[in-house]
Symmetry: C2
C-alpha cells in the first residue's frame, strides 16, 4: 500500500493528501469544502475527544449545547468580532422547499426568514446572549461550560482536516466575576491543551501569545500552542482567549458583585478542532503510511496468526487466548485477525499503512519455540520475543513508542529552530523552513512587511522563551524578547 | 422549589414545561424552535450517549461523520424521501455577509450559491451518495456506520426536547449484500433500542412496525418502540428502518455479489434523539420535580453534612471520607456538598427537585450513633441506616430504585392499556387516554378516519402481540391481529 503513497521528499502536500485518503481517514464530499470523516479517522478523533473531555471535567467544566444558528444581527453586536466573523458564512434565508413540476424541488419564496440566520462560525454571540439570563449575582459565577459541536466557515481553499468549511471542535465559554479569574482560566486551558498535545498527541508545542493582528476577533489576548510539522511549517494547534468584558458589554451581561455593585462579567473562550488530526498526521507519519501514537490508536496491537489451514488457525487462537486476555486486562486494545480471506503479507501491509503501533506475528514454529515476532510501527523494527510476560513487554513497548514519537518530534523541532539577528539572514533561513527566533519591534507594520516579503508570520510571542532584550531585525528598534516567525498552515 | 411547579393533575403540559425550565434541563433560545440544552440536561444526554455508543460498538458498529449540508437536488433523488423531507428545511442560499453603513451587516447578493444547500433533516441522501465510492464488491460489505450529529427540521410548533427545530441524535446507516441481512440489522437495532429503553431509561416499550402511512419516507418497513407517558399519551422512542434498495437505486450504489453479478446494495437506518430526554422526564418525574433513573443520573448520591460550624463540617468530612472512597470504588458517583453558603434544607430541596436518586444526610449526632439518614428520590422515603457496609447498602438501593422506576412505569402502562372491540367503546376509551388494542382492517382510509374522528393514530402493529384474528372495529372487515391506537406526542 505504501507504494501508492507520494514520498514526503517529493511532494509533502501530495503525500499528506494521499495519506489522508488512502489510510481511510477522510475524503472530500460533494459539498464544497465539507469533508467526510471516515471510520478510521473518526475513531482517532473520538479518542482525542475522550481524553480532552476528561481533562475538561477534571478542571471543573461541564458540557452543554447551544443552537447551530445565530441571528445575523448578533454578529454585529461586538465591534471587533463582526470584522472577523461576519464574512464567509453559510447564510440561511428560507425555511421551506416545495415541489415544482419542472425543477423537482425549489425553495419556497413565501418562506423567507424575517432575519437571516448564520450557521455558527463560533458561538460567543449566541452563548453570551444566553448567559445574560443565567447570571444575576457573583454566586452564579463562574460558569465553566464547554460545547462539542460542528461549525462552518466558508473557506475558499480547503484541505482535509487542516482547513474545511465545516469542521468539528469543542469550544469552552466561561464567565467570571473578576478579570484575574478570567485570565487564570485562559491560561489554565492553554496548559490543558499543551499537556494534551504533548502527552496524547506526542507533539511538542510552544505556548505563547498572539500579536494583535493575529488575535481572535473580540479577544483582549489570544494564547496559543504552536507545533512544527515535518516540513518545517508551523501549525497552530489550539487557542485560548481572554475576552475581557467585550461580549458581556455587547450582550449586556451584568452581575451584582460582592460589593453589591453592578459589573459586566469577564470571559474566556478556548477551542481545538479536527485540525488536530492534520497536526497528528503531519507530525508522525512517514513514507510507509500513517503513524499514530499508542494512546490515540483505535487498536494498539494487531495479532496476525500465520496458519496454513483452519486447524492451525484454531491452534494458534487457543494458544494465544491467554495472552489476548492478559493484554486486554492491561487496558490494551488488541485485534486477533483470523480473516482467512486475506494473506498475512497483505495484513502486515495494511496494519503498517494504517498506523497500528504494534503488530505481532505468530505461526506454528513460534508456538513450538514459545516466541512471537513483534514489529513496532514507529521505527519499523522487528524483534523475536519470548511469550513469557509478553503482556508486560507489550505494555512497556507501547509506552516506549509513545515516548519515542514525542522525542523524535522534539528533536526535529530543535533541529529546525534557529536564532537569527539580521533580516538578510532571516530571509535566507525562512526558505529552509522551521521556527526562527528573532527580535521584532512590536509594530503591525513590521509584522506585515515580513509577511509580504517572506510569507512568514509571527506564530507567537513565547511565554517561556528567552526574555533578553534586543533590536528588531527589520527596523533596529528596541525589542523586549525574541518572537517566533514561521510559515504556517 | 417544588412549589414553583404546576401539578401534573392540574396541567400536565405546563408541569412538563415548568420542570424542564426549573430543573435546569433546557430552555428556549432566541432562534425560533432551537433550544439550549443546559449542563444538567446535557449531562443526562451524555450518559445516554455513552450507553448507546457502547451498545452500538458491541454490535459491530463504528462511528463516522458526514457533512451538515445536503445539495438540494439530493433530496429529490429518492421518490418517497422527497415527499417526507423536502418540506420544512433550513435552506442556505448565500455564503457571505458584508458590512453595510446603514444595516450593519447584510447578506452579500454576489455570494449566492449556484445550488442551494439544505441543513440535513436526516442523512440518508448524503451518506448513500458517499457509499457509492466505498462499495465495489460483497467483500466491502456490510458497512455498519453510526453518526452522532445535529439535524434540523423546521417545525412550526415546538416543545423543549419533544419537538425542536434543531435536535441532537444518532443515525445509523448500514449497507448489506442481502435483503435478509438488512432486515436482520433493522431488527437487531430495534432490539438494542428496546434494551436501552428498558435497562437504562427504565421505560417499558412495545416493539412494533409502523403502518404504511406512518412509515419513514423512503423505507420499506419502519420498526419502532412505543412508550406510554404518565398522561396516557404515546411517545415514539426510537425507530429502525429497513430501506430495501431504495437509496442504493437512487444513488446508484451497486456491488459485485458472490455470484459475480452486479446488484444494488440493501440498507437500514435507525435513530434516537434528544426526544428521549422528554420521554425520560415524562415517564418518571413527579410533582416534587425531576426523577432520574440511577444509571443515567449525572450524580447518583448527594451527601449533605449538617454542621453548625467549620469544625463540625471538617469532622464530618473526615468521618465520611472512607465511605466516599468505598462508594466511588463501587463506581457510584457521589457529591459531598460542603458549601457553607447554603443551608441543608435548601440543599435537600435542590437535590430532590433535580432528581438525585439518593440523598444522605449526616450530622454530629449521626456520627456518634454510627448512622446516616438516607432518602430515596423515587418513593421519597427516608430511613436511618447504620454506616456499617453503607457502600453496599447504597449500591443495592440504587439497583432497587432503577428497578422500581421500571416496574412503576410498567404498572402504569398496564393499567392504561385496554382491549376494545367496538368503535363506540373506542371513542369513549380514547378520551381516558392510554393504549387501546383494537382490530383494524389494514387500510389507510380507516386509519385516517379514526385519526379525524378521535386524534388517535396507530402507534404500531406489535411484533409480540396477540395474533388472534378478528374484525375491524370500524368497518368490520377481517383483521389479522390487534394494533395499538393512542394519542401521541
Amino acid at each position: 500500500m505504501a507504494d501508492l503513497l507520494t514520498k514526503r521528499a517529493d511532494d509533502y502536500a501530495q503525500w499528506y493528501n494521499d495519506l489522508v485518503l488512502k489510510a481511510d481517514l477522510a475524503e472530500h464530499s460533494d459539498v464544497r469544502g465539507c469533508m467526510v470523516i471516515k471510520p478510521h479517522g473518526y475513531s482517532i478523533w473520538e479518542k482525542m475527544q475522550g481524553a480532552l473531555d476528561r481533562m475538561f471535567k477534571d478542571t471543573g467544566h461541564v458540557n452543554a449545547y447551544f443552537p447551530l444558528f445565530i441571528p445575523k444581527s448578533y454578529l454585529a453586536k461586538e465591534a471587533s468580532h463582526v470584522e472577523g466573523f461576519a464574512k464567509e458564512c453559510a447564510v440561511v434565508t428560507h425555511y421551506r422547499l416545495k415541489s415544482d413540476p419542472v425543477h423537482g424541488v425549489v425553495v419556497d419564496p413565501d418562506a423567507r426568514l424575517e432575519e437571516e440566520l448564520i450557521v455558527r462560525p463560533t458561538s460567543e454571540t449566541i452563548i453570551w446572549n444566553t448567559y445574560r439570563g443565567w447570571v444575576k449575582s457573583y454566586r452564579d459565577l463562574p460558569l465553566l461550560i464547554n460545547q462539542w459541536a460542528n461549525v462552518v466557515r466558508w473557506e475558499m481553499r480547503t484541505r482535509l482536516f487542516l482547513r474545511t468549511a465545516e469542521f468539528l471542535w469543542q469550544e469552552g465559554h466561561t464567565a467570571h466575576a473578576t478579570k484575574a479569574e478570567a485570565i487564570e482560566e485562559s491560561e489554565r486551558m492553554l496548559d490543558v491543551y499543551a499537556t494534551f498535545a504533548e502527552e496524547w498527541l506526542a507533539i511538542p508545542v510552544i505556548k505563547g501569545i498572539k500579536t494583535a493582528s493575529e488575535r481572535f476577533a473580540g479577544a483582549e489576548e489570544t494564547y496559543c500552542i504552536e507545533a512544527m510539522m515535518q516540513d518545517g511549517k508551523a501549525l497552530q494547534a489550539g487557542t485560548s482567549h481572554f475576552l475581557g468584558q467585550n461580549f458581556a458589554k455587547a450582550f449586556d451581561v451584568v452581575f451584582t458583585n460582592r460589593e453589591n455593585k453592578q459589573e459586566h462579567v469577564w470571559a474566556s473562550s478556548w477551542g481545538v478542532s479536527t485540525r488536530l488530526m492534520g497536526a497528528l498526521i503531519m507530525t508522525h507519519s512517514d513514507d510507509q503510511g500513517l503513524v499514530v501514537p499508542p494512546k490515540l490508536a483505535p487498536v494498539q496491537v494487531a495479532v496476525v496468526p500465520i496458519a496454513k489451514n483452519a486447524e492451525q488457525m484454531e491452534a494458534i487462537r487457543v494458544y494465544f487466548a491467554p495472552i489476548m486476555a492478559d493484554l486486554r486486562g492491561r487496558g490494551i486494545t488488541v485485534k486477533f485477525d483470523d480473516d482467512d480471506q486475506k494473506k498475512p503479507g497483505w495484513k502486515f501491509a495494511e496494519y503498517e499503512f494504517k498506523g497500528y503501533p504494534v503488530r505481532i506475528a505468530i505461526g506454528p514454529r513460534d508456538m513450538e519455540n514459545g516466541t512471537v515476532e513483534v514489529a513496532r510501527r514507529d521505527t519499523l523494527e522487528k524483534q523475536v520475543m519470548q511469550t513469557v510476560d509478553l503482556g508486560e513487554k507489550v505494555e512497556h513497548l507501547l509506552t516506549a513508542i509513545q515516548s519515542n514519537l514525542y522525542q523524535k518530534a522534539l528533536a526535529l523541532r530543535e533541529r529546525y529552530t534557529r536564532v537569527v539577528d539580521s533580516y538578510d539572514e532571516f530571509k535566507e533561513a525562512i526558505e529552509e523552513g522551521g521556527f526562527i527566533l528573532a527580535h521584532w519591534d512590536g509594530t503591525a507594520a513590521t509584522e506585515e512587511k515580513v509577511k509580504q516579503d517572506t510569507k512568514a508570520t509571527i506564530r507567537c510571542i513565547p511565554l517561556n522563551g528567552d526574555r533578553s532584550p534586543g533590536r528588531c531585525m527589520v527596523t533596529g528598534a528596541p525589542s523586549n524578547q525574541r518572537v517566533i516567525f514561521a510559515r504556517a498552515y
